[in-house]
Amino acid sequence: MLKKAYDWIDERLNVTPLWRDVADHDVPAHVNPAVKMSAFVYCFGGLTFLVITTQILSGMFLAMYYTPDITNAWYSVKYITDEVLLGNVVRGMHFWGASLVIIMMFLHMLRVFFTGAYKAPREMNWVVGVLIFFVVLAFGFTGYLLPWDQKAYWATAVGSQIAGSIPLLGPYIQTLLLGSHTVGALTLARFFAIHVFFLPAALLVLLALHFIMIRSQHIAGPL
């Protein structure tokens, strides 16, 4: 039955080559912790992706209750924290997950660096990885404002002032970020849009590139 369904789809869409690329390939022994325990360092990248997945899921659920305007944002977060079933857990996942992504990604980067995996022919994948790092930092910066509490507000106020102090471009960057000259209603709407639309789009594209390149170049061989 399953086989029949697969064949029916395969006949029309020719998914077998795709399946072969995604799933049907060998994993070398030197990255397999089941073969050699110390290979666990090769898990950091996968774990980063796992945390990113939980971030996307918890973020989607938070977006069901969150209201991105300055009168209601704080109350909606308070409602999520105090009233919504498991709201505090989902918010906790998103809050702590943000830090965990950074930590796991940093460890992954150190692994790639110290095993020299960025060397030719994999330079481009290193660059994409660094770009993912920057995108994740941007996630952190924009997400920090959304609860609209004191520390969120003042951290963003100072952050945008720092951006504004950059010679020549500063004022433009500041206006682009804040939508005005101070942190306010426009800023929150903007940060929300960046956090839930712009950055996820950029992140998904970069992740896709990251994974496609791993598949076409394979994991770097043993040291």
Binding site: A23, D26, W96, G97, S99, D149, Y153, H218
Partner: protein
């Protein structure tokens, strides 16, 4: 495509017969093991989340300029760099140093072009990365320590964990139930540090402390004080502590 690819037509579960021993198919063999690692990791993560609930701070108040801002911890190293370039040198901290760092990171593959991959065989690259990692961690820690000290200094003295009651002139403070025995004790002992009206002095202001804390929390703090307050606030008996707490409980500002 070089190496690592499965030979087409090789039965999936006889990978040990392949020339390259130890390799196994990504799906389902490796993915299942990977998932076990992932499950353990997620369990640890969820336990952390459940036992460390996130606290929502007070609603943003653009008029309250006394709030000491600090970025999230993963920006602290950048924040700390700013402090080393005060005044007109700020451009070093805002643009140049972070830019150089970012460019070095992006162009790593073209800076370290030797064929050697083992970290010991390219000591310069390895040493630079170790140094950068330690520098980043040190800067992060330095910023955190300095921020903590700043917050403590702003609240008058070493951080005590006591809620911050806003400072107010004694003439504007109205204490209630001053006929209670607790008030007499307060005047004789606590007022030495906290002021006759609880407006604060050597100790922090506490005239409206019960707006923030209930009697149990107050009693616990007086019995186990922090931030330089003497135990039981120099009161001599449990009964006295209880009387003072009973009175403090009425002070909601």
């Amino acid at each position: 495509m070089s190496g690592g690819e499965r030979i087409p037509g090789t039965p999936r579960y006889r990978h040990h017969l392949l020339k390259n021993p130890g390799t196994e198919p990504f799906f389902p063999n490796f993915l299942l093991k990977e998932w076990i690692a992932g499950a353990v990791f997620l369990t640890g993560f969820m336990l952390w989340v459940v036992f460390n609930p996130v606290v929502l701070g007070d609603k943003a108040n653009p008029d309250d300029t006394s709030f000491i801002p600090v970025p999230d911890w993963y920006f602290l190293f950048l924040y700390q760099i700013l402090k080393y370039y005060p005044g007109s040198d700020i451009v070093f901290g805002t643009v140049l140093v972070p830019m150089i760092g970012a460019l070095l990171l992006i162009f790593t593959p073209w800076l370290d072009t030797s064929k050697e991959r083992h970290p010991y065989k390219r000591p310069l690259a390895t040493l630079s990365m170790v140094l950068m990692t330690f520098l980043t961690i040190w800067l992060t820690n330095e910023a955190a320590v300095q921020h903590k000290a700043e917050v403590a200094a702003a609240s008058g003295q070493a951080s005590s964990g006591l809620p911050q009651v806003p400072k107010k002139a004694p003439s504007q403070i109205t204490l209630v139930d001053t006929n209670m025995p607790g008030y007499t004790l307060f005047e004789q002992t606590c007022a030495t540090c906290h002021g006759k009206k609880g407006e604060g002095g050597f100790g922090p202001p506490i005239y409206a402390i019960s707006k923030y804390w209930n009697a149990t929390q107050l009693k616990h703090f007086v019995e186990n004080p922090q931030g330089g307050m003497p135990k039981n606030g120099t009161l001599t008996s449990d009964a006295q502590v209880q009387q003072v707490v009973d009175w403090l409980e009425k002070q909601t500002g």
